[in-house]
Amino acid sequence: MARINVTVDGVGYSDDVEPRTLLVQYLRDTVGKTGTVVGCDTSNCGACTVHLDGRSVKSCSVLAVQADGHEVTTIEGLADGDTLHPMQQAYHDNHALQCGYCTPGMIMQSIDLLNDNPSPSEQEVRDGLEGNLCRCTGYQNIVKAVLAAAQGGAS
């Protein structure tokens, strides 16, 4: 077991973890952040995407011990009380989710995308979301939501 200190959604946690524990397992099973989900086992789908020190990572591809001393933001840490993050609001306004399983990862990646490129073209949005799979929406409204959020100055 290894002791790690991690800040998740603004709250500090100190836990013993098996060295092989993935960050996503730590978030779900130890911290209880079940908003972050697992969709594959090959880091293709991006459903588990969170922010590590403000940059998006696929939390199935990071060991919990690698997050020691770092700050993690999940989908559950985005809204300010009842006020949705502008990207969450854009997803809602543009019907950018159906079953919602990919949504947490997709939103975290979308925010990262705009952090890198606040005014992307449609193609840049599509390329920027390439590592996140959605089976329901055909991506059309996801792309629309990200472009709308960019217009609204969300990042």
Partner: protein, 795 residues
Amino acid sequence: MTVTEERPTVEIGAPRKRKEDARLLTGRTRWTDNITLQGMLHIAMVRSPVAHGTITSISTDAAKAAPGVVAVLTAADLGDAQGGLPNAWQVAPDQKAPNHPSMAIDHVAFAGEVVAMVVARSSAEARDGAELVDVDYDYLPPALDLRDCAADKVLAHPDLGTNVSAHYEWHSADHGTGGDVEAAIAEARANGIVIEREYRQQRLIPAFMEPRSIVADPTGEQWTIWTSTQVPHFVRIFMALVTGIPESKLRVIAPDVGGGFGGKLQFTPEEVLTVLAAKHTGKPCKYTESRSESLMAAHHGRDQWQKLTLAANSDGIVTGLKVELLADMGAYLGLVSSAIPLLGAYMFNAIYKFGSYKFACTNVFTNKAWTDAYRGAGRPEATFAIERLMDELAAEVGVDPMEIRQKNWITHDEFPFRTVAGLDYDTGNYEAATDKAKQAFGYDELRTEQKRRRDAGDPVQLGIGISTYTEMCGLAPSRWLGSQGYIAGGWEHASIRMLPTGKVEVVTGTSPHGQGHETAWSQIVADRLGVAFEDVEVLHGDTQVAARGLDTYGSRSLSVGAMAVVAAADKVIEKAKPSAAHLLEADVGDIEWSGSQLRVKGTEEGKSLGEIAFAVLQSHNMPDGVEHSIDADATFDADTFSFPHGTHLCAVEVDTETGNVAIRKYVSVDDIGKVVNPLIVDGQVHGGIAQGVAQALFEEGVYDDSGTLVTGSFVDYLVPSAADLPTFDIDRTETPATTNALGVKGVGEAGTIASTPAVVNAIVDAVRHLGINDIAMPCSPQRVWSAIQSAGGAS
């Protein structure tokens, strides 16, 4: 026939943002894998890596000794308790099926079949334990090639003696809906045109984003089972039948479910095994599959060989169509595996007036994962075949593919129309949808550009693909299902509970997993009962709450499920009338519904349903015989199907030097009748088109010669990303259905049914001048390039 009622529709038709989103956007979700109970144990499955073999020994000692492991169970431990999994559809009286144990007993029939399970205190310990289970197999030759298997060259189940599960036929000459197809073909051979083709519907994997997960809790007096399913009501019934647990002791909950697409229309081995593990240990047990397990062992879709013979006169008027299918069932029959081709049997004639039609299908076992419903289920296969054939016929006649369709389709003034396959289409307007699509697409301009680039020998050729599809939706009228050999009905149930605070609970027997029923049903009820959209709460997916229902699949939820909701709403109003009359001191006969109140005729004096619900709660001063509730239950069973249709147009650019295909423009005009929520409908169309495009260009479940699934992860099974797809330009025409009170038809499968042939027709159209008339799906750059090379190269 029902006449669509004219009612004020404030909510119906409004682009309401979804109620479901709030929890999904913020991570306050209840996926089955999120459920954790005190003392809960975790299951890891040991799966056969062998496609076909006999189990000679299983050693579990090391696993049993591993840290945290509570139990290791094999088929020998389960004994007769595991029973056999059901198939619910008998398509032929002599249909054959092997016993389908949840855990292989001594014979394994596909790679991925469960051979043992390890139950441990943590998921990691269960998986570690599973690694220590040692299984020896004697290899048997795997039955893999569908055509070889149909000829019984290798047997998937030697005990069965044949791979053929069933053979069934339907001929218009036998049903009085058309002539003799052989006569039509003979006549066409002599004096007309005969088109003969064989198309491959490749194996697809539904690949819902949420892997399947089950939690079974045996504590207390009643079992509670959470499962990521489309069909909680089916699971409850079949779990009772298979395990012997009384149905009344089973509560099945489908909490938030992350997509299904038919892939979660199943009663699964994993569901049974999780219950058996919980029974064995007396503790709640959870099983959550990995993605690799999901791709390997959750049911697949499609996988057919289609042999087609189309007869036409020299003008291109179709006189007959003969369809001969081989359908790969995989290793076992799932719930409705055998009937997937049957659901397409009545759709090969599509929107056309054919003189004769014959359908024949042979269902065949192989040593692969079993196939069952996948979005469209039989209808995409049929639509692909006929829409490809219409293009081939156009090429033979030498006319534009749109013209050949116009020559053969049912015109808008010919409805209602009985088709050669015996279905009664109530309404449709193929001309209107096509005109709108052509205009948005710039059809004539693109044809001009195509000719210019072809004449110039452009290495990147333009192709235009058409798909003028229809489908049968709203599965399905109970009597029809009975006539086709299905074990259950196709009705739907709803309850409406009027709460004394003015809120309304709507309980639906449908079980959504992304479709937005909570929003759409709220809109319908808001209009029907004159209440606020926000005041309606929609409950579903829990057999204790929604005790009756037949769940969600086959584009049935709106056209069947919501009709039960409408019927329940109308009953509430009727039921409230005596109380309203009493409160308003009037005769019941003088009470009428205003749209928001029960009023005394000719006056403004009235009571809302909320006020009546409160008065009924008090019941201080109600006349004798009045029930102390204005809640109502209702069911709806359709008389017939609904028939959405539309025109999809696709322009592709094919690089003849590399084989790369790029979709340049995609236009769809769908006619799904009345629209309840355009936002939701647009989303269904986008996602549907994407899945059909994926079949055309990207996806295929591939097995190697040993029967190992090569596409066992998302590295190899190519679910398209945002970067792989274009923006779809979608629009609608609206020809209301005349078969239900709302005039709706259904939209869940339309895009997937329509889009695959549109894309492939476009690709073939781009290279037809090179002597190519078919490219097998998925049309990867390699396949397109190879086809061009085989035809003699790019110029």
